[in-house]
Amino acid sequence: MLRFDQVTIRYGSRIAVDNVSLTVPDGEIVGLVGESGSGKSTLARAGVGLVAPTSGQVLLGDRPVGLRSPVQLVFQDPYSALDPRMTIGQSIAEPMPRASRADRRAEVSRLLELVDLDPSRAMQYPAQLSGGQRQRVALARALAGQPEVIIADEITSALDVSVQGTVLNLIRDLQAQLGLSMLFISHNLAVVRYVATQVAVMHHGRIVEHGPAPEVLGNPQHDYTRELLASLTT
């Protein structure tokens, strides 16, 4: 389980994340909603060790998270998430633990099938794939690192609706199959509601509301959550 323990992150005098405590329990998808600039992405980066908290700590189990911890991050922009010079197979194989060539190839095929892509695509380059397909490759790459937790940062917001559905369905399937733990970040409440069991709402760097999804969305306590919900229904 991934635990943010009173994490504060400052950039100069600006506080991006303000005393955030949040737990992603094993086998659950926690949705994190909030608008741009609310600190969601900074929190995501702290979750994999790309950004060090100014104070507080991020723990995986009982150990602080570092770059080598089994936590993987999937990004928003499918066009910059994959190295254009590497084949799909090479990208997926990169975070894999050391193994023989044949084993790695077999694992790449398995992962591609897991994300509903033809294993023969391993030899292709990202330019030959659509946005939705790239996001699935990015997911396969994250899974290749055998993570305990995956952090998904707005992974569907750059996709068309028709494609967004395939990625969300995939997330749900993977969660059911593999018992994934995931921090699912999105500005879209309907999307978060569909995949997450718990929802946390972030506003100006703080978590203003957190709880089981039906409770937070059905009976919001904080003004900002109410405002978010209201903007959806009209």
Binding site: L50, S80, D83, G145, V161, Y194
Partner: protein, 615 residues
């Protein structure tokens, strides 16, 4: 790879490559073939001019200068390449170092490079040549090190661009070390410009080396390169000009070969869009039937890409005064291009053609209507940050159009700006008008953008994804504002969006676009439940809502939209459509209007009543 090869297909690239291969071949072969002739001393033929026997004359010892120039190719090119290699290696190391050592130490490296870049290269080379001592080795080191700062700077800039990419962050988050990230992800992605630059600077090194040798700081006797031959020959330039001219010409040719090849590479590699052939300008088929009372009337609008493919394929639409029409579709459906084409904002190499493009009864395709566009048509773009000039105050940007088209005085324009900013609900407009775009939040910039459109008296607002870059709560306010403006001034709206919910909330009527065509035209109220085109229905169903059943998988549309280059003869949606049959694949359905004003292009539309029942 093909881009590299395409260099050879340009005339300059082909010539430069030929020249370069020639120079390199000479560098390899000349000493093997002609060393004997070049070194043969002939005391009977000292300091001769050009002759049939000695094409470039002879030197102090009667050695044949033509052969000496040929043989000198190897040393000259070799030393230039060696110097370039040093420049590249040192430059790469210095340039990549900040990415390796972290930001604190990296800052010192950057500062050091900045200081060295400030010195002129040749001055640095002369200075270093003195330090390393006179001779070929010293000169190579000097020219190499003098070239390094420029390379380091270039590398730094390129590395900084790539290291921001998500795939670098992904690799680091996967526990890949900084050094391996640099080797695997960063360097391959910046190799192209570096190679191009190295080629060009090899030409520079060649010239610099000739210069040092000429000054006596470079190659020393008995070795000789072009620079030394030039220096030796210059003494007798009035008696035997060929002795100086021959090595001079050699330097020019070799330098040209490297530089031209580098430039040709740069042009080919730096080019992101393939250059298309110029399309023949087709005569316009304009329809001169009487204008209707519609604000906007578009018939058979087509946008052609440089490749000849059509991104917008015969779009027809009408907007009545005060009406709000939405255009929805996925990326690549041609919806934004349609909007831009209507506003006459599509430029070469794209071509716009329409049978009819009338705005307020005036033909927009006739050049004389720029002013009409400036005063009666307002455009709102997706990204309000890039739509404003960051160096100008909001007031002067808003006033620009009004002063040009409306002929307002400075004071009148300013008053109007403040009035309009107030109209788009910006608080304290007097103070805000004096501010710069970066002092505005995203939502406020979008308001200001709308305010700019309201400076005239618009009959139509074209808004291209006006809320996509904004947060949901702000999005709501902007849509509200657009609705209020419409109601107050009876302004028509053409709203382009990928978001079905936004369009159905704001518009009266919705056009659904797919692969460059309008496939359905229906009342917005019908969108959620009464759509008849399978694509429209799938698009609506695919949007997760707060009511979606969490137990069921979300509806998806399998496959992807065809690119403009490979649209089929039949219905473009057929490959993804559950209802498609052979007829759909073979023949494209026309957009046919029905009695109730709806239009649909489908061979198997859901019957209006059934569509209702199913939902």
């Amino acid at each position: 790879m093909s881009r590299w090869r395409s260099v050879l297909r340009t005339p300059v690239g082909a010539c430069a490559a030929l020249l370069l291969v020639g120079v390199l071949a000479l560098a390899v072969l000349a000493p093997i073939l002609w060393s004997a002739q070049a070194d043969r001393v002939d005391t009977d033929a000292i300091r001769q001019g050009m002759s049939a026997e000695h094409w470039a004359g002879t030197d102090d010892l009667g050695r044949d200068l033509f052969f000496r120039v040929l043989v000198a190719t190897r040393l000259s090119v070799e030393l230039a390449l060696l110097a370039t290699l040093i420049a590249v290696v040192v430059g790469l190391t210095l340039g990549a170092l900040p990415a390796l050592v972290g930001s604190r130490l990296g800052r010192y490296v950057v500062a050091f490079v900045n200081i060295t870049v400030a010195f002129p290269g040749l001055l640095l080379a002369l200075f270093l040549a003195v330090i390393f001592g006179v001779g070929a080795r010293g000169a190579v080191l000097a020219i190499g090190l003098a070239g390094a700062p420029a390379f380091a700077r270039l590398t730094q800039t390129l590395v900084a661009g790539v290291i921001e990419r998500d795939y670098v962050a992904a690799a680091r988050a996967a526990g890949i070390g900084r050094f391996r990230v640099l080797l695997r992800h960063v360097l391959p992605n910046i190799a192209e410009p570096l190679i191009v630059n190295a080629t060009i600077s090899a030409g520079g090194a060649l010239l610099a080396f000739a210069g040092l040798s000429f000054l006596g700081l470079g190659v020393q006797a008995p070795q000789y390169d072009w620079g030394r031959l030039l220096g030796d020959g210059l003494a007798g330039i009035y008696v035997t000009p060929a002795a100086a001219l021959a090595p001079g010409i050699a330097v020019v040719i070799a330098g040209l070969a490297f530089n031209l090849f580098g430039e040709a590479l740069a042009k080919a590699v730096g080019l992101t869009t393939p250059l298309g052939r110029a399309l023949p300008r087709l005569p316009r088929r304009t329809d001169s039937s009487a204008p209707s009372d519609a604000v906007l009337e578009v018939r058979e609008l087509t946008v052609t890409l440089p490749s000849g493919a059509r991104a917008v394929r015969g779009v027809s639409l009408q907007i009545a005064p005060g009406e709000a029409v939405g255009v929805v579709g996925e990326s690549g459906s041609g919806k934004s291009l349609t909007a831009l084409a209507i506003a006459q904002l599509v430029e070469e190499p794209l071509q716009v053609r329409a049978e009819r493009l009338h705005f307020q009864g005036a033909d927009l395709q006739a050049q004389a209507h720029r002013k009409l566009l400036g005063t009666s048509l307002a455009m709102v773009f997706q990204d309000p940050m890039t739509a404003f000039n960051p160096t100008q105050r909001i007031a002067s940007q808003l006033a620009e159009g009004a002063r040009e088209h409306g002929g307002l005085s400075r004071q009148a324009a300013r008053a109007r700006v403040i009035d309009r900013l107030r109209a788009v609900r910006i608080h304290d407009p007097e103070r805000r008008a004096r501010q710069y775009p970066h002092e505005f939040s995203g939502g406020m910039r979008q308001r200001a953008m709308i305010g700019m459109g309201l400076m005239g008296t618009p009959a139509l607002i074209i808004a291209d994804e006006p809320t996509t870059a904004l947060d949901v709560t702000v999005q709501q306010q902007i849509l509200q504002l657009l609705a209020e403006i419409r109601a107050a001034d009876h302004v028509a709206l053409l709203l382009i969006s990928h978001d079905v919910t936004v369009v159905s909330a704001v518009c009266d009527r919705v056009l659904v676009m797919y692969a460059g065509r309008v496939v359905e035209d229906l009342p917005a109220a019908e969108l959620a439940r009464g759509a008849r085109h399978p694509y429209t229905r799938a698009l609506v169903a695919a949007v997760p809502t707060m009511e979606s059943d969490r137990q069921l998988p979300l509806t998806v549309i399998p496959g992807r939209m065809p690119d403009p280059d490979d649209v089929s003869a039949g219905c473009s949606f057929a490959p993804r459509c559950a209802l498609a049959d052979a007829h759909c694949a073979a023949e494209q359905p026309e957009l046919i209007a029905s009695a109730d004003g709806r239009r649909i292009a489908c061979w198997h539309p859901a019957p209006a009543s059934l569509a209702l029942q199913e939902s």
